[in-house]
Assembly symmetry: C2
Homo-oligomer: 215 residues x 2
């Protein structure tokens, strides 16, 4: 049975993990009989009211992420990458705000040190990484110098920013995914499009099939 690590960044697309993407990841991994463990950093996030879009107080990324996976989650600092065959990052603005500061600094952003070392481990050991929605920007920041190919759909401003890292951006349709066979990076746009729940599920389900084959 393949063991997969999934990293969440909160609960809600404006300040954390995109919920439909996270759930579609869990459904798809479970459907393929993978065992998975979920992790999130034990840090605070700046919350956003998902109706008014206004900034509110702070919450804890690990505690909020726990809502999506029914409390079955561990502090990211306890993640031992040696134990896992593959790594998944669901999207959501939390990836660009809580796992790195791409939201503010783009291609020059800083990345959470643990996240950076975990990504580097999977890359070094030729184990696949699936990055969903905006998460390929995080992968590009860490692995761009290796010329990794990936997608965030067809948003040209974000694609251009990604290419500043050295990564190659490939346009990708809704429900589809891009595989870099050399580096084993798989990416799928999901809610980078104005998509719908079933289309998001379809794209992630297909990307997970490819990911599990490689793991």
């Amino acid at each position: 049975m393949k063991k997969i690590a999934v990293i969440l960044s909160g609960c809600g697309f404006m300040d954390g993990a995109e919920i439909t993407e996270a759930v579609s990841t869990f459904i798809s991994l479970d459907r393929r009989a993978c065992q998975y463990d979920t992790f999130a950093p034990d840090i605070n996030l700046n919350t956003v009211n998902h109706i008014s879009s206004e900034a509110e107080g702070q919450r804890n990324v690990l505690q909020e992420s726990a809502r999506i996976c029914r409390g079955r989650i561990s502090d990211l600092s306890h993640l031992d990458p040696e134990k896992y065959d593959g790594l998944v990052f669901p999207g959501g603005f939390g990836v660009a705000k809580n796992l790195c500061d791409w939201a503010d600094k783009g291609a020059l952003c800083s990345v959470n040190k643990k996240i950076e070392s975990v990504i580097q481990h999977f890359f070094d050991h030729s184990k696949p990484i699936l990055a969903i929605c905006i998460a390929p920007a995080l992968i590009a920041r860490v692995l761009g110098a290796h010329g990794v190919s990936l997608t965030i759909g067809n948003d040209s401003a974000t694609a251009q920013e990604i290419e500043k890292t050295g990564a190659v951006h490939e346009d990708c349709k809704e429900c589809d995914f891009v595989t870099d066979r050399g580096t084993k990076i798989i990416s799928t746009p999901a809610y980078m499009y104005d998509s719908s729940p079933h289309n998001v599920y379809l794209g992630i389900s297909r990307a997970v099939d490819e990911f599990v084959e490689m793991a």
Copy 2:
């Protein structure tokens, strides 16, 4: 195109809507090409830390529910049942705490007046209602006197409490559902079992197929 109303009760199984059940509902309705609108009451809930299970402060049910459906949600008070062909209640402890007080009072609980009138409207007009996980307890409280048949799986204590309302409880396996053809109430146990994301999705997907046929 069939129009469906989905009612959420927060965001997270311990104090709100069960997230995998809500997302599985949206994926399944979208897959069947239904148009759906989402509603939640504009009231406060008592939050629970989903790691420690400890009580915390208050949050707003409508604002937290908005996280699951990317802000596309309306205040429950604006729900006009005339506009919809069917009604869905995903589960989660929020149903038993925020839409009624079943969690404290069981079969003698009080139900949010708007929720009660909406359920009564769908029943009176022979339009189907799909109730997931613990939500059949809410339906039993409102429609039990009509002898409606429904399921929350095989938890005998909850089943006995449900039968005090006059409703008939039928045991149901994981991934399956129960239909009361006379009253058009469909129910599926989902996370009333110690289930997994794909099994929850499967059960809800099958129940939605039946529900859409009836709508």
